[in-house]
Subunit: 370 residues, 2 copies
């Protein structure tokens, strides 16, 4: 671990000019840096399969007006969940991983990083695990139910009936995602690739989560997906951090492991019965550094408060006989990790720690349970 | 070709019960058929690289209200174009293909088909071409500018200011995409995998194309992408069918070939100067069968009328010395192709005809021009 720390401390300092350019480049076109900065691996990626499909969804009937007046009213699909997947040629029998993104984001979070490095989607595949990346219902390629917006436009519903579309400004992202204290002032040890922060901004899409059925159909779809895969490790991030827990409560048998990456919340109100059920599934919670940094969002607690909520949940699960643990890389002298830990410069190191946990806690356990 | 015709005529007829079930299953949950029906190839897919990035985009400043009141106002990225790509390990030097989707759809159009067969994205990669699949600006993982919707909700803009979200009902899709005369009545020779039509419905997302800047930023992004790739074949479908032409007018040098798949329009108003420029790039237009079928949308012409508009454009380009041609598979005794020709049961046959055209018209020409 000393060598890790050394390389961490000695990584090149980003020239201030680069940071200033990234921060001041706030008007006009974003620098078109993406494709030329995308890196290619030295060894090919050999896939048994790749593709995409949908989980869940329902057919509803809508009027011509609700459909935007392009054609006659009729039936459409809503609340389906898009899933893209890659299955490695090697590694048969390894548990699939399902990676779910956070608020105002899509499955893109897990793909090529803002500065063009390999995403966790491919990294875990190269380590032998099939990887399934959904877009949450209501976002990205999963679509959303547009009817209320068209009804408001037509004057047949009051404007307050249409759900807000949420976006984080860069000014919110910097403190809340813990890149620094405020926009353009990164933590000296920040692991986020600050020079590419504009590329992260492009990953954001509007989020109408508050307009979805409660609970979000994504949770049932995740449980169904784990069932269709005959067992999977569910990994959530931020907004979806607690979704693996909720999916496991629907069907703990097919939920072989739970990885909560910087979860927005670890629920404190589970019944003892629910804790008993969740304790049958190994749980790992992952949090980055600088958790005491004020989020800049008056309605949201610090990430340290959420960390403590997860410690409490881990305590309850352990008392009930569960295998639950916290991964705080700063305990291992890996400092400066951000909320977007899967995109941080040391993202492979973090991934390796998760893989190590899967190997010791999940795969063996699954083998035993067969 | 006789054998092709034979296999076409002798393909199994879909049992009426399956069609009726697909048609009548219009209430409640869509049948969860997707993952189990996804097929795996016999040979692995060997990729030099895969991943995703963005092209274009701009940073704008918005108020707290426009951002949905989650946090303080500030800067966000809008109008960027998400692109996912796969580069085959074999086939170095082959021209990349960029595949753009149609209205109310996303890049998913080109991925795994509704009935679980390999999509054109992977098929063209297996044939040695790097493939780049964007989501049009305003849709899917490219996101959209949500500000006006939040302003309407807050009462600070009139409801009529917010763009309509367009969706096609299944009742529109059947005649307009030429699966049959109306919902549940497929053409006897239809090549679309009718039993999986509910899975196509899930691919649809709301389309606010009318709310985008004019022309759509997707066109400039496609031209920029072709430039970043140092030359590419641009393939559009339906709504985006004419985008390759518009992108070529921005920079014909990097647009090595144009493939218009069932284009919504072939513009009739190009100047002679524009025709001269477009005539420097090889053009292929692809149309399926049953083009005389009424679309069921009173505002839209038949696909036969669009076909004739494209024949007129081909004529003008040829007169100007261009290599422009029409691919109508029914001329080759391949009958029953639909508007979603890349998802039809004979999609590989159609792809092979396009590959043949690229080999004869584009690659050689590019080599000559070097």
């Amino acid at each position: 671990m000393e060598s890790e720390r050394f390389s961490n401390l000695c990584r090149p300092v980003i020239p201030v000019a680069v940071i200033v350019a990234a921060v001041l480049g706030v008007a006009g076109n974003v620098r078109a840096q993406a494709l030329k900065d995308v890196q290619t691996s030295r060894s090919p990626l050999v896939l048994k399969a790749q593709g995409s499909f949908f989980v869940g969804g329902e057919i509803v009937e809508q009027t011509q007006g609700e459909l935007g007046n392009l054609g006659p009213g009729g039936h459409i699909a809503v609340n389906q969940m898009y899933v893209r997947y890659m299955v490695p040629q090697a590694g048969d029998g390894n548990l699939p991983l399902v990676m779910v993104h956070g608020a105002t984001l899509t499955g893109k979070s897990w793909e090529t990083t803002p500065d063009g490095r390999m995403g966790w989607d491919e990294y875990f595949v190269r380590k032998g695990h099939p990887v399934y990346v959904p877009d949450q219902v209501g976002r990205g390629r999963s679509g959303f139910n547009q009817a209320i917006y068209n009804s408001v436009r037509a004057g047949s519903a009051p404007p307050t009936n249409q759900p807000e579309w949420l976006r984080f400004s860069d000014e919110s992202v910097w403190p809340n995602f813990r890149f620094g204290t405020k926009t353009g002032v990164p933590f000296p040890d920040s692991q986020f690739p600050i020079a590419a922060v504009d590329e992260l901004a492009k990953q954001a899409v509007p989020d109408m989560n508050r307009g979805l059925p409660t609970p979000t159909p994504t949770i049932k779809a995740l449980s169904d997906l784990a069932g269709q895969l005959k067992g999977a490790v569910l990994m959530g991030h931020s907004q979806s951090g607690s979704f693996p827990l909720a999916a496991a409560l629907i069907n703990p048998d097919v939920t072989k492991g739970l990885v909560l990456v910087e979860p927005g919340t670890c629920p404190a109100n589970y019944t003892d019965e629910q804790i008993k059920s969740l304790a049958t599934v190994p749980l790992l919670v992952v949090f980055g550094d600088h958790r005491d940094n004020p989020t800049g969002l008056s309605t949201l607690p610090t990430w340290q408060a959420r960390y403590e909520g997860c410690q409490a949940l881990i305590g309850r699960l352990r008392t009930a006989g569960g295998q639950a643990e916290m991964l705080d890389p700063s305990d291992r002298r890996l400092r400066g990790n951000s909320h977007m830990i899967m995109q941080d410069k040391n993202s492979f190191q973090i991934a390796d720690l998760i893989l190590q946990w899967i190997d010791t806690r999940v795969s063996k356990r699954s083998a035993r349970s067969k």
